[in-house]
């Protein structure tokens, strides 16, 4: 069973409009929040144990408290550049409940004292951008944005900004660069955005789901929110279930939910005759789990960390036994090769190198030494760069090779896939030339 803390009314079409949203109690929490002291809101969020839903899982309240205590103008940025392969929850949230995001953002902006915020939406989400723009118009018309919101004396302006479809702009400083009109490349840290972010001013960047989750926390209080989930992973979370399942889609469940139930109950199981082979639990950057690991995993930050992987953005990619793991990895290495911004050498060169090695194996020309080389290259890309893209490219390689090594060795030895019996020409490696 899902626990619809945020998505309770997502099935109602009118919920997208201001009237429909208000009819279900929308913006009531904003009115409540505007009467609270900003620090009280921050304290409540901190107490709720809410962790960032974008992927890193960092405590939201703590992030907010990194802002310098002065009167400098500060910005709130909503990260809606949902680029992690397998993730599609933010899109649904923006398309089904734009006002929920806007309300959550106004409350958060009020808490941190920001007068201006932007929603940075990935370029391909043009439908969501349209929905958000319309919702913003409605909110302005209703006095929910602009000067003196609901008579509270708090002023706030909000804008939607369309990205151009680069994965790297989902990294918060890459997103800030892009918003500033620069090439979307992550910035060197320190300074961190909370100190010097957008336009060199203190900036908070939060995911769509994180900002929306502020609403139930303020409405019902931190204690009520903490009733959902586990001790260290509180509340509910959306999971984007995809891959070889019968009912793919977004599911909102309390954290700590069983991965097996997610696949076999909510997801309707696999196709007849197929067996579970592997699961990528938190977006393509998360190390893969074997079927055996997946069956005992729970969807919370602690269990995932303990299994050497991540909850990430909550994108669960299910892989059944009809898939060749070398081929799957080739798909991932191609993605990271294509998306590396090219700034830091280990990532710029390493992502290409990994992709070429995997594709040389896939074309049947691999050498046994290539398998160890993959591990060595990936190992030396980890933790050596400005942002985490390099790690994100290295982790799947390391886990795939470690957990499915026989399949790689078979491919090299026999020159064809153990699963499909075929090779795959290295089209990706030569793509750009």
């Amino acid at each position: 069973m899902e626990t619809k803390l945020l998505s309770e009314f997502y099935h109602i079409d009118e919920y997208r409009g201001l009237a429909g949203y208000k009819a279900k109690g929308g913006y009531d929490v904003l009115a409540k929040a505007l009467k609270m002291a900003p620090q009280a809101i921050i304290d409540e969020v901190k107490a709720s144990g809410l962790r960032g839903r974008g992927g890193a899982g960092f405590s939201t309240g703590t992030k907010w408290s990194f802002l310098p205590k002065n009167n400098e103008p500060r910005y709130l940025l909503c990260n809606a550049d949902e680029g992690e392969p397998g993730t599609f929850k933010d899109r649904m949230m923006m398309e089904r409940a734009p006002h929920q995001l806007i309300e959550g953002m106004i409350i958060s902006a009020f808490a941190i004292g920001s007068k201006k915020s932007y929603i940075y939406v990935r370029g391909e989400y043009f439908y969501a951008i349209g929905v958000l723009r319309k919702a913003l118009e409605e909110a302005y018309a209703a006095g929910l944005l602009g000067k003196n919101i609901l008579g509270s004396g708090f002023d706030h302006d909000m804008d939607v900004y369309s990205g151009a479809g680069a994965y790297i702009c989902g990294e918060e400083t890459g997103m800030i660069s892009s918003l500033e009109g620069l090439k979307g490349q992550p910035k060197l840290k320190p300074p961190f955005p909370a100190v010097q972010g957008y336009l060199r001013k203190p900036t908070i960047v939060n995911n769509v789901e994180t900002l929306a989750a502020v609403i139930p926390i303020i409405r019902d209080g931190a204690a009520a929110y903490k009733k959902f989930g586990t001790e260290k992973s509180t509340g509910t979370k959306f999971f984007s279930l995809s891959g070889n399942v019968n009912k793919p889609g977004n599911y909102e469940v309390p954290l700590g939910y069983s991965l097996k139930d997610m696949i076999f109950k909510l997801g309707g199981g696999l196709k007849p005759g197929r067996k579970l082979k592997a699961v990528i639990p938190g977006g393509s950057s998360a190390p893969v789990l074997t079927a055996e690991e997946a069956e005992r995993a729970t969807l919370d930050y602690e269990c995932m960390a303990q299994m050497g992987t991540m909850l990430g953005s909550g994108a669960i990619i299910v892989i059944d036994d009809a898939n060749c793991m070398v081929d799957c990895l080739g798909n991932l290495t191609h993605f990271y090769h294509h998306e590396s911004c090219g700034q830091c050498t280990p990532c710029r060169e390493g992502t290409g190198w990994l992709d070429k090695i995997v594709h040389s194996i896939l074309s049947g020309k691999g050498r046994l030494a290539d398998i160890d080389l993959l591990v060595k290259v990936a190992d030396n890309m980890k933790g050596r760069t400005i942002c985490a893209l390099s790690d994100a490219a290295a982790l799947p390689v390391l886990s795939f090779v470690q957990k499915f090594r026989p399949e790689f060795e078979y491919f090299v030895r026999e020159g064809r896939s153990q699963v499909t019996g075929k090779t795959k020409e290295a089209v990706h490696g030569e793509m750009h030339h």
Binding site: A166, K183, L188, P190, H337, H338, E339, S340, C341, G342, Q343, C344, T345, P346, R348, E349, G350, T351, G352, W353, K356, I357, S360, R367, A369, L373, K376, N380, G383, R384, T385, I386, G429, E430, H432, H433
Partner: protein, 528 residues
Amino acid sequence: MAKCTINGKEVEVKDGTTIIQAMSGEKQDWQHGKVAHYCWHPGLSVAGVCRLCMVEIEGNPRVQIACNTVVTEGMKINNTSEKVKDAAKWGLDFHLINHPLDCPICDQAGECGLQDQYMEFGKYTPEMSEKKVKKHKVVDLGPTVVLDSERCILCSRCVRFTEEVSKTNELGIFNRGDHSEIGTHAGMELNNKYSLNTVDICPVGALTSKDFRFKQRVWYLKDAETVCNGCSTGCNVKVYFNKEGMFRVKPVFNKDVNSYWMCDDGRDIYKFVNKESRLLKAKKKTTGGNWEEMFPGAAAKELSSTVKAAGDGLALVVTGQYTNEEYEALFTNLKTKKVFHWVNSPEKHNDFDGLLIRGDKNPNTKGLQAVMQKHGITPGNWADLVAGLQSGNIKTLIVAAPEIAAVYPDIKHRVSEFEKAHNLVWLSSTKSVEVDLLTGNIWQIPMKSFVEKDGTFVNHGGLAQKFKKATTVVSEALNLGEAALLMSGAQIMVKPETSPFVETARPADRVTLENRKKNEFVFKRGTL
């Protein structure tokens, strides 16, 4: 101040100093251990992208970049551990996997960051066996610089230079990932007065100077530090030369004068030093109207009687292109009240572009003024000179002509004025078409260029900079002081300079352009 330990040695640094600054020291002498780096440059902002300058900090499980980590009190830094060495080795490997490794035909070979760091931190067996990324070669970036994108390691130094120093913003990195390339923005070319600094700071052979490329292998060049004589800024520079002549000029760091940079005009000063543009022998115009060649010393000696005979009719014209020491000798030995300061484009003298280039194209105007003042000389009006020449009051005119005549646009006009003198003595390091065409009693005596003598230039701000002789190009040339002494009638012996390039026993082994063309022969003998 913060105290930290670098490789076991306690070091105290100013607050806000980064680890790499602490290690390199202000003089860039890397006293506390060398750190591999490409993107970091002391004169530019921190990019933190080459990921090579890894150091280990006690208490931190991951290696950190030294260029963006600020030293804090009690920090224990180490860059000699196996972990750091391995990180540097892999950092280098990532730089090299798509590098064409075309050192034999690369102009940077011999002074290449990749070669240097490989010998210091690499020396591994490469494992890359995939196809390398193809990129653009021989990209014409502008009038001065050529780009080879395959050699480029995308350190972004050149981009940051055009953003932060020249502020011309012509360059950018285009595309993404391992197909990123340096290039000029749409409709722009790399065309600014400082463009060649990008070649200096390029750690690899990606950016090469059109002027220098393919002229010499750098290991055939010697270098020496001197002061640029291109304008009154007095940038500290290094000149690169060998037996065949001068080949290039590069800036040397001086925080009070030019920081790490110099202008493109200054890069051309070597051209006025080379034999092709030099006055090699003294010349005397004979009654028949022909030029008779003489030894410079002999010519100056011969002139002593003419100078003596002139008495009060002797006049000097000086330019701000000689050293203090030479002016001192000139005014001591040739005493006359008639001294005239030849100033080029005086209306531009206070021009300044905000970075290095100044309107006064003489390296030592301030020095000349100071020496004249010391000798109680007030330079005369130019009109008086012209009138004196016309009336015959000025019989013998000695002109200390500019070394770089190109910055004296009025030279033709002035020379036609000088022609009226009964005797004209033209002291110059470079040959002059204008003077060659004159008629009358004329002597031309070759002077040493600025790289062939010791001396002092005083720059626009009054900073006196001493420099040493770098090499000899025209061995018989005199300096202004020697010429003045000889012309005053002193009995001295001026020995021709000997070349710093030692003659080898076997002429065939000498490194000359000729025998390098026949390098087959040289290599066979196994002597190069």
